[in-house]
C-alpha cells in the first residue's frame, strides 16, 4: 500500500515536471523578444527541477541519494537565478535595439 502511494506520487511529480519542461521549450519558440525567452527559460528550469527532484527524492535507491537530491535542488535554486540574471544582463548590454524592445527603469 505504501509502495503504491510512493509510486503514484513519484509518477505525478515526474509527469508534472516533464510538462513544465515542455511548456518551457514551447515558450522559447513563441516569444518575440530575447528577454521574454530568458524569463520563460529561468522560470521553467527552476520549477521543473523542483518537481523532478521532489519526485525522485521519494524513490531514490537509498537515503543518501535522497538527501543528495534535496541538496542538488537547493544548489540549483541558488545557482540558476544567478546565471539567468547574468544572461539577461548580457542581453541588455549587447542588444542594439534594446530600447525599442524593453523599457529601462532606473531605481
Amino acid at each position: 500500500m505504501l509502495e503504491v502511494a510512493r509510486f503514484c506520487l513519484t509518477a505525478v511529480l515526474l509527469c508534472l515536471s516533464l510538462a513544465v519542461f515542455t511548456v518551457e521549450t514551447a515558450g522559447l519558440f513563441r516569444f518575440k523578444f530575447a528577454l521574454s525567452r530568458m524569463h520563460a527559460a529561468a522560470l521553467g528550469d527552476t520549477f521543473g527541477l523542483m518537481l523532478a527532484m521532489l519526485g525522485l527524492c521519494l524513490s531514490a535507491p537509498d537515503a543518501a541519494s535522497g538527501v543528495k537530491c534535496l541538496v542538488l535542488l537547493v544548489f540549483m535554486w541558488l545557482a540558476s537565478p544567478v546565471s539567468s540574471h547574468l544572461i539577461a544582463h548580457l542581453e541588455a548590454a549587447t542588444n542594439p535595439k534594446i530600447h525599442e524592445e524593453a523599457e529601462e527603469i532606473r531605481l
Binding site: L28, A52, A64, V82, I87, L90
Partner: protein, 101 residues
C-alpha cells in the same frame, strides 16, 4: 512495481531526450547569440534531471555525485562566459557593455 518504475523512468528519459534535441536545433538555428546561451542553460538543467533519473533507474548511488558536479560545472561555465563577454564590470560606461570601445 519494479516494471512500472522502469516504464516510467524510460518514458521520462525519452521525453527529455527529444526536448534536448529540439533545444539543440534551436541553439544552432537562432538569429541571436544570447539565445544560444539560454539554450545551453536549459540543456544543462535537463541533463541534470536525466542523470538523477539514471541514478534512480540503475539504482547506483554515485550518479548523484555526478549530477552535483555537473550542476556546479555548468553554472561556472555560464558565469565565466558571461563575464568574459561583458568584461568584469569595473568600467563606468554609460551604455555599459562594449569592452573594446
Amino acid at each position: 512495481m519494479t516494471e512500472a518504475y522502469r516504464v516510467l523512468y524510460t518514458g521520462a528519459l525519452l521525453v527529455l531526450s527529444v526536448l534536448i534535441l529540439v533545444l539543440l536545433i534551436r541553439a544552432a538555428r537562432t538569429p541571436r547569440n544570447t539565445d544560444r546561451i539560454i539554450c545551453v542553460n536549459m540543456i544543462s538543467a535537463m541533463v541534470i534531471v536525466i542523470i538523477v533519473l539514471l541514478c534512480a533507474l540503475l539504482r547506483e548511488g554515485y550518479l548523484m555525485d555526478a549530477a552535483l558536479l555537473y550542476a556546479a560545472m555548468s553554472f561556472l561555465a555560464v558565469v565565466v562566459f558571461c563575464r568574459v563577454w561583458l568584461g568584469t564590470g569595473k568600467r563606468k560606461n554609460e551604455d555599459g557593455g562594449d569592452p573594446d570601445a
